[in-house]
């Protein structure tokens, strides 16, 4: 039987929404207070939805320790209590909006997925990010990143 399991995680981080491709005035118009030069932070929540078949013995669709492990290693540890613009490589060139954060979370998870779960294991179906209770972004896995070749030429190594 095929089920979808969703697990939610949290991390706190700071960011600034500012694009060098826009003028100061355009940045202020586009991002408002989020363009303030010194940045600001959020308590982010990330929900990962995994789809697969329920194991008849364990009753589980995914090993939760492995799911928690990949989330911790790929997302929470690199992002927790960080300045995203300064300390996460991709956000030196990409504005860390909720949308782009979702794309990066999805990309990082997919890059480590088969190594963690093996071939034919449960698949990542959806990533949902809450920047606040009222600002939420949902991404069908792979859709955006694959279309735009996101991060394909970038180093995976963070700055620190």
């Amino acid at each position: 039987m095929i089920v979808r399991l969703s697990k939610r995680y949290g991390f706190a981080a700071s960011h600034r929404l500012y694009s060098p491709a826009l003028t100061e005035e355009e940045n202020r118009e586009t991002y408002g207070k989020c363009a303030n030069p010194h940045g600001h932070g959020h308590n982010y929540e990330v929900e990962l939805t995994v789809c697969g078949t329920v194991d008849p013995v364990t009753g589980r669709v995914v090993a939760l320790d492995l799911l928690n492990g990949i989330a911790e290693k790929q997302i929470l540890a690199p992002f927790r209590y960080r300045n995203l613009n300064e300390e996460v490589t991709v956000f030196q060139t990409v504005v860390p909006t909720t949308e782009n954060l979702g794309v990066e979370v999805d990309r990082r998870l997919r890059a480590a997925w088969s190594e963690t779960f093996g071939e034919g294991g449960p698949r990542l179906e959806k990533v949902c990010i809450w920047e606040t209770d009222r600002n939420i972004c949902e991404i069908s896995t792979g859709a955006v990143a694959d279309a735009e070749g996101w991060g394909s030429a970038r180093s995976e190594k963070d700055i620190r």
Binding site: V3, L5, V54, T58
Partner: protein, 136 residues
């Protein structure tokens, strides 16, 4: 069009399989493998799909849906030890995956007319939920 109804129940369970060793049970289920059990406040969302009736404007009378959920799910699950008191959990581990599948099986036969059961989502905690759409 999809419309959802949310209900709640509280129950205890033990996530252990007799087919696994103690070490495997603890690795797979963590603290949930405690043989003396533990409990949750479960939240169940049942999503119904269909076109609204042109006269009543309803896909399914939500009062009727509430009655079905009370009779077929809440009366069976609420304030019970699932492993001992709710079939099939005498022989199947009451993970949130299996709970979602079992609730689907209990509700599905009672949804008719212009309504189809679309999904059952069970929240075990604020962080963990499972959705089942009847797919084999």
């Amino acid at each position: 069009m999809v419309i959802s109804k949310k209900v709640e129940f509280s129950a205890s369970h033990i996530c252990r399989s007799a087919q696994l060793t103690d070490a495997e049970n603890e690795r797979i289920y963590g603290a949930a493998a405690n043989p003396l059990g533990h409990g949750h406040n479960y939240v169940v969302e049942v999503a119904i799909e269909g076109d609204p009736d042109p006269v009543t404007g309803m896909i399914l009378d939500l009062k009727r849906l509430r009655e079905i959920l009370e009779e077929k799910v809440l009366n069976v699950y609420d304030h019970r030890l699932l492993n001992r008191e709710v079939e099939p959990f005498d022989r199947r581990v009451p993970t949130v995956e299996n709970i979602a599948i079992d609730i689907w099986n209990r509700v599905h036969p009672w949804i008719g007319g212009r309504a189809r059961l679309h999904a059952v989502r069970v929240h075990e905690t604020a962080e963990l939920s499972v959705e089942y759409r009847g797919e084999q």
